[in-house]
């Protein structure tokens, strides 16, 4: 899923049909090829990219695939996801924010009764 690539299912070899909306992954630069003067944590990992598009030919998940993107570019990368989407959420109200709200309401109410 696009919102969290770390939770993508491991490539299963399942065949994805031509024309499906998919996501490919590319290692753009191995750590040894990266820019100089990077912080150590960044220098130790590859520079990667992900792009979504329509699959050109039927390809098993995990294999190299060609896609055509929304701008019409042809991009080749490892097929990592079928029908990538978005699942980021609103979350739930954290207690500290609620405390601030209660305090603000008290202050405003006191000011109004003055």
């Amino acid at each position: 899923m696009s919102s969290d690539t770390s939770e993508s299912p491991p490539p299963s070899g399942q065949l994805v049909g031509a024309g499906e909306w998919v996501r490919v992954h590319r290692v753009e630069l191995e750590p040894s090829q990266r820019s100089q003067n990077l912080p150590a944590d960044t220098a130790a990992v590859p520079f990667e990219s992900w792009v979504n598009g329509r699959l050109v030919d039927a390809t098993p998940l995990g294999a190299q695939a060609d896609i055509v993107t929304l701008s019409g570019r042809k991009v080749r990368g490892r097929l990592v996801e079928r029908r990538p989407g978005y699942n980021h959420t609103f979350g739930s109200p954290p207690a500290p924010l609620l405390a601030s709200v209660m305090r603000a309401r008290e202050l405003l109410a006191a000011a109004e009764t003055e």
Binding site: S32, D41, S49, T69, R73, H88, A95, P96, V101
Partner: protein, 469 residues
């Protein structure tokens, strides 16, 4: 892409830029370090009324200014007698893609259409991508947005994922990358491959597109209060927002104090894989604001049209906890759900209002839309997932990347002043790097004076001390 390829594409950078922006930056050079800033802005070749007309046709601008009466009242509950400035908010979230960035994108895309480009490319993880994608969609242009989106674990900040969703929804191709400055090589490669227009945030079109916002602010305030604003707070990162808004304020004859507000994320490295997800939102990051203020040309074009030190009267930092506080109060006291971009300025405004007279006015010059991923609940949840502690507490308890302390009461809000004298010295130091001070020409001195707003004698003092080093 490999290191050899990235080296080659960087070697061709100037040619790629000239073709993709249509500006011959070399022709602007006038001294050893000096170049003609107003000539660069002049490439827009339209006055602010013409820009406003273009934006009007594209559904951009003429947003509502409203008085945040309950927030003003809240600030006054803890202000000294006679203090508590009136707070006004310019609701830029009403633009088609939900932020003031539509103003920047509208003029860039308009230019791309006039010049016959087939598409536009923007390198941005922020609202600007959505704005360019939206404007491109209106014009039938193709669009590519290159985003820094994930750390090496593949974890993405909720806010950036939301931006990707919006861009894709507007029909743009989104290239999502891991953390690192190499995004620029990828950006150059895409420009070279597609021959699309570089809708950089730092072209004169992008900055001139914001001038209309400054003009509208003055007009709105004259209508609402009978005079221009006393102080305008502008969320500040790359410098375009400050530059464009302040230029517009000047065009409209405003004498308002221009205050840049950024989120204090000092200590978090912009290029660190680990630090990337230890910030809660991408807006107004001090890690962008400080380097872009002292070295504006670190951007994706040879000479940036965003030159914040030419316009800033003050620069302040607020904490992430204060921005979350401001966001929550805007929602609970004014009934407006808006995102962190404008609320960075709002946090500063809530603090500054407490120090200013009741009859003075502060304008928060933007809002942005909010939604899943951009909302404080999502962002604070993400912070906790990434090992950041979230609690009720004073601004002094905030530690970027480790602790978000949310004020309980408005009197716990404040601002940290950035020393602009030192910032100006830093700009001069970087501008003259590699050039012996004695070789500077009069035009270079004049350029540095414009860049820093220092008097000739103040500037000479700084140069003398640099020459002695």
């Amino acid at each position: 892409m490999n290191s050899q390829a990235s080296g080659t594409v960087v070697d061709r950078r100037d040619a790629i830029m000239r073709r993709s922006v249509g500006i011959d930056y070399d022709s602007l050079r006038v001294g050893r370090i000096a170049w003609d800033y107003e000539k660069l802005m002049g490439t827009v070749d339209r006055d602010v009324q013409e820009v406003a007309q273009i934006q009007l046709q594209r559904g951009v601008g003429s947003t509502q200014m409203f008085e945040a009466k309950r927030l003003t009242e809240l600030a006054r509950t803890v202000s000294a007698p006679g203090c508590g400035a009136r707070i006004f908010i310019k609701d830029e979230a009403a633009n088609p893609a939900g932020s003031f960035k539509d103003r920047r994108a509208s003029l860039s895309v308009h230019e791309a259409v006039l010049r016959g480009y087939e598409g536009v490319v923007a390198a941005t993880s922020g609202n600007y991508g959505a704005a360019v994608a939206s404007q491109a969609a209106r014009s039938g242009l193709k669009c590519i947005v290159v985003q820094e989106a994930f750390d090496s674990r593949g974890k993405g900040q909720p806010e950036i994922l939301e931006k990707a969703r919006v861009c894709e929804d507007f029909g743009a191709e989104v290239i999502q990358c891991t953390v690192g400055p190499e995004l620029f090589y990828l950006f150059l490669q895409v420009l070279e491959e597609t021959k699309f227009f570089n809708a950089s945030l730092y072209t004169p079109f992008s900055v001139a597109g914001i001038e209309t916002l400054g003009v509208e602010i003055v007009e709105d305030m004259r209508t609402l209060t009978g005079k221009g604003p006393d102080l305008v707070v502008i969320t500040h990162a790359g410098g375009g927002n400050v530059t464009g808004t302040a230029r517009g304020l000047k065009i409209a004859g405003s004498t308002a104090q221009v205050v840049g507000a950024s989120v204090d994320l000092r200590g978090l490295h912009m290029a660190s894989d680990r630090d990337f997800n230890r910030k809660s939102f991408t807006t107004g990051h001090s890690g962008f604001a400080m380097p872009f203020t002292t070295r504006p040309d670190r951007s994706d074009v040879p000479f940036s049209a965003a030159r914040p030190l030419r316009y800033l009267d003050r620069m302040v930092l607020v904490t992430q906890g204060e921005v979350f506080y401001a966001t929550e109060m805007l929602s609970k006291c004014e009934g407006l759900q808006r995102g962190p971009a404008g609320n960075t300025s709002l946090a500063a405004a809530l603090a500054l209002a407490q120090t200013l007279p009741c009859d003075s006015t502060i304008v928060v010059q933007e809002t942005e839309y909010t939604g899943a991923g951009k909302h404080p609940w999502a962002q604070l949840g993400f912070a906790v997932e990434n090992g950041v502690e979230v609690k009720t507490g004073d601004r002094s308890e905030n530690i970027p990347g480790r602790m978000i302390a949310i004020p309980e009461s408005p009197d716990e809000l404040g601002v940290t002043e950035v020393d602009l004298t030192r910032t100006r010295e830093s700009l001069i130091r970087q501008a003259v790097e590699g050039v012996p001070i004695v070789d500077l020409m009069p035009v270079d001195i004049e350029f540095l004076a414009d860049e820093t707003r220092l008097t000739p004698s103040e500037l000479q003092g700084t140069l003398d001390s640099l020459a002695r080093e």
